[in-house]
Amino acid sequence: MNTLAEETSLPKESESLWGKAWYKFRRDRTGMIALGVVIFFMFIALGVWAGLWGSGWSNVGGDMWAGPSPEHWLGTNIIGQDIYSRAIYSTKTAFEVGMVVAILSTILGGILGALSGYFTNSWVDELILWLMGVLDSIPFYLFVAAIAYALQGYPYSMHIAMIATFWTTTARLVRGEVIKLKNFEFVEAARAIGLPQGKIIFRHIMPNTFHILLVQATIVFVGAIKSEVILSFLGLGVVDGVSWGLMIAESTQEVQAGHYSNFLTASTFLFVLVMAFNMFSDSLQDALDPKKVSA
């Protein structure tokens, strides 16, 4: 009955979510530090990719379990490979795994989630929900192992397995969001003026779920590199090259004999990256969460 209320509450909404988010994020110290660390690791990875460093990871020149020395900063493993450059090289592996899995599973989850959310209680929704239910009910390692065999030899079997399992969470979240969104005026409007559904879903609805996708992507990234470690330990992980997982797997026996370098190096790298990513992802969540007023 009184027009003031709406009128005055309008302008707050109209500020862009992203603008605000970035504004908030910039003020979040831990978030910025975390981001810095992540970028640093990414830089290392790029360097390896470009062949600037870490290329010597496979040389077997060195001594057996040599301690730290000028030419081998962090010592060597049993067959005399330089642990430092192996760890460095593994950074690339980690990002490879993380990126591929995060990006693809997010896209997959986003699209399927949007579809099932938009066509709720249609056969599309039913089908997708069923698929998600099924994938969630297969024990993870069994599933990964199966895929790993399925694509034995292919370097990407592990990635595919992870993607196939990780997308469901994203999909569920997106689905929920889309169900909320699709009753909003702007969607109604779009429908009213007879836009094709494809356009509505992907032009009008999807963009409003990007904040979820972004956060999910970071979470999946972390999940991926952590799973890689365990899978590599179980012999289902990285096929060629080297990864922190392989290094730790390698170290599981050594550590009991007091050769800690392999173990400590790999797990430190892993821990720092994962930690940074977690913190980054948290701050991102806070920044993107419209409800959050303050710390």
């Binding site: 069923w130 698929l131 239910g133 099924v134 969630d136 009910s137 297969i138 024990p139 993870f140 390692y141 069994l142 599933f143 192992a145 199966a146 895929i147 065999y149 399925a150 694509l151 034995q152 972390v222 952590k226 470690v229 365990i230 330990f233 179980l234 012999g235 730790i248 170290s251 599981t252 550590v255 009991q256 007091g258 173990f263 797990s267 892993l270 821990f271 994962v274 930690m275 977690n278 913190m279 948290d282 710390a295």
Partner: protein, 317 residues
């Protein structure tokens, strides 16, 4: 009674799920899983022997026939004999599942209870240093790889270089005392890892509940904090909490803790399953997958029933 009917109805709707899980996994193991034949042939095998074994393993039957067989096995809960040891799958499960449960449960329960406790504290002191401390801790916990934790704990607590208080590995449990000695390290590791995730999750849930209007109302009517937290907030927070716990149960029961078991050499179902995966012991895999799927459906049902118990708004229609 209405509940029973409901459960039945629900179970029937759960059948597609079971079909899906079994079908997909069976496809994977039949067409892509490792080929058992070559584990069974001798050092100096002949083509003939290889064919014989393939035949005995049923590898030469058409897929559909084998799948139907599988469904029959699942329906009758008789999965035949392991392809590696020849032991009855059921007796294998009967032997290993209890061990896994005994191994995992303490960590699982502790992980959740502590998680909830810490979450309550953190949520109650939201924004204060205590909250920040707990949350910081849980992020750290989340960031350490399970494998690393296991290795570290084994060195620190079990090996001679460390304290050497607990058995390094194995499972020679004959008394409650043995039991405690053998589960301590795995349990600690499990809790350590689970705690981070749980605390965060539960805190989020509880904080959300705290923000609800009715909580403010309760406050406005002078409800003391204890009552507020445990009666008004926790009862409402129950639903997500229960859901989370419920849905982690099937995997805990069946795949056990594969990592812990294979690292500590504990003959639980997790280890058996993994060996089955790597050696392509299909009868065991079929059992494990099938049972997991069924458990999931059951959990779905229990979960809904639980909703009803907690939340009057939910009706089992």
């Amino acid at each position: 009674m209405e509940m029973l009917q409901y459960a039945l109805r629900k179970f029937i709707t759960g059948i597609p799920l079971i079909i899906g899980v079994t079908l997909i996994s069976f496809l994977l193991m039949v067409y892509f899983g490792p080929d058992k034949t070559y584990e069974l042939v001798g050092k100096n095998a002949t083509e003939e022997q290889i064919q014989e074994i393939r035949h005995q393993l049923g590898y030469d039957k058409p897929f559909v026939a084998r799948y139907l067989e599988y469904l029959k096995e699942l329906a009758t809960f008789d999965f035949g004999y392991s392809d590696s040891t020849g032991e009855r799958v059921n007796s294998i499960l009967k032997r290993t599942v209890p061990i896994s449960l005994a191994l995992i449960t303490p960590g699982f329960v502790l992980g959740n209870l502590l998680g909830i406790a810490l979450a309550l504290v953190a949520a109650y002191y939201r924004g204060h240093w205590l909250d920040k401390l707990i949350m910081g801790g849980s992020v750290v916990g989340m960031s350490v790889s399970f494998l690393i934790v296991i290795i570290a704990f084994q060195i620190l607590l079990s090996s001679n270089d460390g304290l050497g208080w607990f058995p390094v590995r194995g499972w020679n449990v004959y008394s409650f005392w043995d039991y405690l000695r053998y589960i301590t390290v795995p349990t600690l590791a499990t809790v350590f890892v689970a705690l981070g995730y749980n605390t965060r999750f539960y805190r989020a849930v509880i904080v959300e509940e705290m923000g609800r209007d009715h909580v403010r109302t309760a406050k406005a009517f002078g409800t003391p904090p204890g009552e507020l937290l445990f009666k008004h907030i926790l009862k409402n927070a129950m639903i997500p909490i229960i859901t989370r716990i419920m849905f982690s149960i099937p995997l805990v029961v069946i795949s056990g803790s594969l990592l812990v078991e294979s690292y500590f050499g504990i003959p639980g179902v997790g280890k058996v399953t993994f060996d089955a995966i790597t050696t392509g012991d299909q009868p065991i895999l079929k059992a494990v997958v099938g049972i997991t799927a069924v458990l999931f459906v059951i959990v779905l049902i229990l979960n809904d029933i639980f909703y009803k118990l907690v939340d009057p708004r939910v009706s089992l229609k």
